[in-house]
Symmetry: C2
Subunit: 376 residues, 2 copies
């Protein structure tokens, strides 16, 4: 993997670049749709490419490890071959899901034991095991195994957890570096900065993570319930420490406004379930603001969902039809809203990139943040 920094915004720390992987290039800043179980929910793979224009998607180690399981993924030739997505894939480490979904989990120095939320079977995720699992899934970008602390979190717990995350990172790197990809293309490991909302811990963690000199770095433990201002403060602080010439991935963020603000702080990569999860509940993110399509005011609005977007669903379907589908719990409603929201997210980061290249990002960002945050 290679990262080329291409342009910088004069009025902020926003920048553009290109990440090169064996499965193709990623133009940053970028949003990565979440495909938890090997499918971006309610979206066909060709729609991801042709309508949404996704450049990279996420897979979830915890889910894929439990189902379909590593033997099937390996026999398929990895996740790309299994689900037919031939562009880059990033897998998270599974840690976050072990903490949030699995039963009777126990965190020890060696790793985490847990029971599957599907069938109750017992498993152990260690830093080494999680590297092997992600090697087998076959992601282009692999995440270190960390502990993502909740919010709020006591200082003492955050500090101890951070140090364990750093020790786990050392084990991840050692194990990753002595193993190889299984399918003939290269894989890259991103470490994760932790430290909750404590600035001194974030300093320590960012410095520790930077010292590993991996090809990219991630910021975890944010967007877990803390106020947005606190997230921006921590992100800004960590970006000032992480190397300029490596891509920075802010995990699990966020709303369109969050993404624009964090691009301004120097973040290059984002992922979040919000555009797809909220779509299924009828919340639409558009270039004019946020729409709750269940609201009666849309029932006779036969205009396109968002006329600015060029894709199929935004040109073909009306707000009134989408409202009817969501109200009737028709699957097609979830499909249309998911494609729309992801198209909007990808359009937004693409626009941000254009504005950064033109040197006009900061003014545009301030205007857009208030526009995309308002409820229509």
């Amino acid at each position: 993997m290679n990262f080329k920094l291409e342009s910088k915004d004069p009025g902020s720390k926003a920048r553009t670049g290109t990440i090169t992987t064996d499965h193709g290039d990623i133009k940053t800043p970028i949003f990565m749709p979440v495909g938890t179980a090997g499918s971006v929910k309610a979206v066909h793979q060709r729609e991801l490419k042709e309508d949404i224009k996704a450049q990279i998607i996420l897979g979830n180690t915890y889910h894929l490890y439990l189902r379909p399981g590593l033997d099937i993924l390996e026999e398929a030739g990895g996740l790309h071959k299994f689900n037919g997505w031939d562009r880059p894939i990033l897998t998270d480490s599974g840690g976050y899901q072990v903490y949030s979904l699995a039963d009777t989990r126990k965190i020890k120095e060696e790793g985490v034991t847990f029971q599957s939320h599907i069938d109750g079977s017992r498993h152990m995720f260690s830093p080494e095991a999680v590297m092997d699992i992600q090697r087998t899934i076959g992601a282009d970008i692999i995440m270190a195994f960390d502990e993502c602390t909740p919010y709020p979190c006591e200082y003492d717990y955050a500090e101890k957890s951070m140090h364990m995350t750093h020790r786990w990172l050392k084990r991840c790197c050692e194990h990753f570096d002595k193993t190889e990809g299984k399918y003939g293309y290269s894989q890259t490991l991103f470490p994760i900065v932790q430290g909750s909302v404590y600035k001194d811990l974030r300093t320590q963690s960012a410095e520790a993570i930077a010292s590993f000199e991996r090809d990219g770095n991630a910021i975890g433990g944010l967007s877990v319930g803390e106020p947005a201002e606190m997230m921006y403060e921590m992100t800004d602080h960590v970006c000032n420490i992480l190397p300029l010439d490596k891509p920075r991935y802010l995990m699990g963020v966020g709303t369109p406004a969050n993404i624009l603000e964090c691009i301004a702080l120097g973040i290059d990569m984002f992922d979040c379930v919000m555009p797809t999860r909220n779509a299924r509940n009828g919340m639409l993110f558009t270039s004019e603001g946020i729409i709750n399509i269940k609201n009666k005011k849309w029932d006779r609005d036969f205009s396109p969902i968002d006329p600015v977007l060029p894709g199929y669903v935004d040109n073909f379907y009306s707000k009134a039809y989408l409202r009817h589908l969501i109200m009737s719990k028709e699957i097609l409603g979830a499909q249309i809203a998911s494609i729309h929201n992801l198209s909007f997210y990808l359009w937004l980061v693409g626009e941000a990139r254009t504005q950064i290249e033109a040197g006009t990002f900061s003014q545009w960002k301030n205007k857009m943040v208030s526009k995309v945050s308002q409820r229509l």
Copy 2:
């Protein structure tokens, strides 16, 4: 609407033809995907056209009347404009759903009173009202308001019900003929033969229905639980009475084998929720037989779902991936399986048409019936 009979199979009563409507031609025999609430579940409109190659779809009067409601459909310019499907649409009369879904229904000579299954609101469907409703929905083919008797059904009830259906048909025709389409294209009314599984009632009903000399005729009250042989016997009997030069629509049928057998008896049009409903539960109809994709035997089968079919999902996705999606309750699983099953149904009636034209239908049909009925 116009129907041109084009060719006849020498070994059976199968025939091909073309139905011409203001929204385009329909090549028969044809299967019509069911779009209950204005959407064929889990399928985009462009997929219906480009992948499934649907020529006509169904809408459901009961569902559309309750939601989104007639005022919204009329303001949209009819269902075609509302959902973007610009090829022919057929609406059922709503009768079947009133009997099966609605609460506290009461059938009287005047019509049926019922409560909405959505919000408990009270409504009345009469033959005249149902004509007006279907005029407003804007279907190309409109169905008469009838009573669909259950199976089993006492002779006396079946006889009385059939006579009421005939009296209702007279009212439907009178009201339909003195009203006009609302959107500038013509609409056609199909009457429905009833009579349960009683041959003498079916004779009476088919003769009565034929005497109305409408542009097409339907057979109702079958595929409601009776043995397949009984359905074939009634269908055969009724087809021998209905005029040759009008299209014949067998309502709610059926499995691939049912469809092939009934094409051989002279049926031109079919609809059924089976391909989409069963798809969502992981049952696939293929050119080699029936697959329960949840069966463990498919978990490492990386071959296409059905290599005979030319569409996207059958070339892009594997059985193993589809199995994973269905097992994980991913929406994409329902999407892929629905497109596949409908593509197969449309492929099957297309093949039947080709075989009838070539004069080879009967032998092909016998071979296919056993093939498509076997469990793989």
